[in-house]
């Protein structure tokens, strides 16, 4: 629509509610920063110092980042064949899409609970293996990194499917046909045409998945237990158990900075991978 259309003050009030909501978000971020850097009324780096001084805290960060990288890559690997399947399934796409959307939109807690029922010491898998007589003692599938990675990967695959599928659907149909006409095999066509053109979706997925994973609280808390901590579980504990808002804020800011650095790195890799595609 053309700019400069008749505009009155009362009409510009339409934008106001949105501005208030955005302001609330930015004020909340500002409050987060101010509570992390303030101690007894003055500027202080005390809470950051505490994090830097504790090697066990460093491990929490390492674990979070390494697990999240693993989760993001695993989820993309699992979701790619699903996305391809949905892409090819013209007629059935809507039905299959519901099979992807339901697990995506069902509450995180419920999906994680499903994995507890599956992986727990008295869970489905252990009960099944016990019934088969393969094991005497329950296998420890939960309360360790494996549990967290399994749970988070499963939780995040649906989003990756949707992201990659969007990219695949934007590939022009005749590109593939052109490639086949020029004599490329099915695999060559996939390797040279489909895969490169779906990379934007893959990178969006990697980025969002990584962010969702480093910021996760529920899944690490429930599947990782008390010892195998994620940054998210530590933050939750600081707020809900020790009521130390400032420390939680400092943790959040470290996490935030970490994710921004990671985002920049992923973006750089993406630019390199997509060079010449613009």
């Amino acid at each position: 629509m053309n700019s400069g259309e008749r505009l009155t003050f009362s009409k510009s009030l339409m934008l106001l509610p949105m501005l208030i909501i955005l302001a609330m978000f930015f004020i909340s971020v500002f409050t987060l920063f101010s509570s992390a850097f303030v101690d007894r009324g003055g500027f202080s780096l005390k809470y950051f110092q505490q994090i830097i001084d504790r090697p066990d805290y460093h491990i929490v960060f390492y674990r979070t980042v390494l697990s999240s990288i693993t989760v993001a890559i695993l989820a993309v690997l699992f979701s790619y064949p699903i996305a391809l399947l949905l892409w090819r399934a013209n007629k059935w796409r809507n039905l299959l899409l519901i099979v992807v959307l339901v697990p995506w939109l069902v509450s995180l807690v419920v999906r994680t609970y499903g994995w507890i029922v599956l992986l727990g010491p008295k869970g489905f898998i252990n009960a099944f293996l016990g019934w088969l007589g393969v094991i005497d003692e329950p296998v420890k599938l939960m309360f360790n990194d494996t549990g967290i990675i399994i749970g988070l990967t499963h939780v995040l695959v649906p989003f990756a499917v949707i992201s990659i599928l969007s990219s695949l659907l934007s590939i022009e149909e005749n590109l593939e046909e052109a490639s086949r006409v020029l004599g490329a095999s099915g695999f060559q066509t996939f390797r040279n045409i489909v895969l490169p053109l779906s990379l934007p979706g893959v990178f969006t997925a990697l980025m969002v998945l990584y962010l969702a994973s480093v910021g996760a609280i529920v899944t690490p808390l429930l599947l990782g237990g008390i010892t195998e901590k994620f940054v998210g579980s530590q933050i939750y504990q600081e707020v809900m158990a020790t009521y130390n808002m400032s420390k939680a804020a400092a943790w959040s800011i470290c996490l935030l900075s970490l994710s921004f650095v990671s985002l920049v790195i992923i973006k750089m890799i993406e630019r390199r991978a997509l060079r010449g595609q613009e």
């Binding site: 909501i21 609330m24 978000f25 987060l32 727990g120 086949r180």
Partner: protein
């Protein structure tokens, strides 16, 4: 032309079927007669459903989550619609800036959002009230509401509203008679999508509950930590059914293409 190698097709089908697996396990467990998971189950019963329906705490949590989802989706869709309409018609130049601001919460890890939200709500003195939860849900769902509404509005011929105005309609009347019916599917997508997100939100919400109020997912979370009674399986199944119905409704009234459309950028 549209073929797939048998290997990738098989992988696709297996992985796809694995997605709802935990949900089916929960579903199966909810009919288990004993107090812990057994394989094969020794008995089947509806006792956990009876417990879920008779315990007032669950009924209350389901009710709270439903009305908070309803209020959130209506509020956030209204806000997004007004902002998108205003920007497209009167201030197209601020659109880039506005979208940047609207989508920026997406780049915040959820844990940080939770702490930021509780910091803000504590300052406003409303932690533990429905207001805090709704405000947080609105902030979290704004990007998911703005996009479908903006896409729908953008595809409407701007002359339609001018035509209605030339014929004597006030702007409000033209919006009601012309623009709303045409943008119906975008608006319904926003309403249902944000409703579902709000109904199932847990990571931010769990910082904001209080003795007076809790939502269904947060209460499930609290119960899992305390004791893993199979009543949770029944309650989770109910929550899945509500979400599932909302998605099917969305498919009926607006279609699912929105989810797999590439955004304009």
């Amino acid at each position: 032309m549209r073929t797939m190698s048998p290997l990738s097709r098989t992988l696709g089908i297996v992985f796809l079927l694995a997605l709802p697996l935990p949900i089916f396990i929960v579903f199966g467990a909810s009919f288990n007669g004993s107090a812990y998971i057994q394989f094969p189950p020794e008995s089947y019963s509806l006792r956990w459903y009876i417990e879920a329906f008779t315990d007032p705490r669950w009924a209350r949590a389901v009710g709270t989550s439903l009305w908070i989802a309803a209020v959130t989706s209506v509020v956030v869709t209204t806000i997004s619609f007004m902002a998108a309409y205003f920007t497209l018609r009167y201030a197209p130049r601020i659109n880039t800036m506005l979208e940047l601001a609207i989508f920026s919460p997406l780049f915040f890890p959820h844990a940080c959002m939770g702490v930021a939200a509780v910091a803000l709500m504590a300052k406003l003195g409303i932690v533990g009230t429905p207001g805090a939860i709704i405000l947080a849900h609105v902030i979290v769902t704004v990007p998911f509401s703005y996009r479908p509404v903006h896409v729908a509005l953008r595809s409407v011929d701007p002359d339609l509203i001018r035509a209605a105005e030339v014929m004597g309609a006030s702007e409000l009347r033209a919006l009601k008679d012309i623009i709303l019916p045409i943008c119906r599917s975008g608006i319904l997508t926003s309403l249902l999508f944000t409703g579902i997100i709000s109904f199932d939100e847990v990571t931010v919400t769990m910082f904001l509950i209080g003795p007076e109020i809790t939502t269904l997912p947060v209460q499930i979370f609290t119960f899992i930590q305390d004791d893993a009674s199979p009543v949770l399986a029944a309650i989770s199944t109910i929550s899945v059914i509500i979400t599932f119905l909302a998605i099917v409704l969305l498919e009926r009234v607006a279609g699912l293409t929105f989810f797999v459309q590439r955004s304009g950028s």
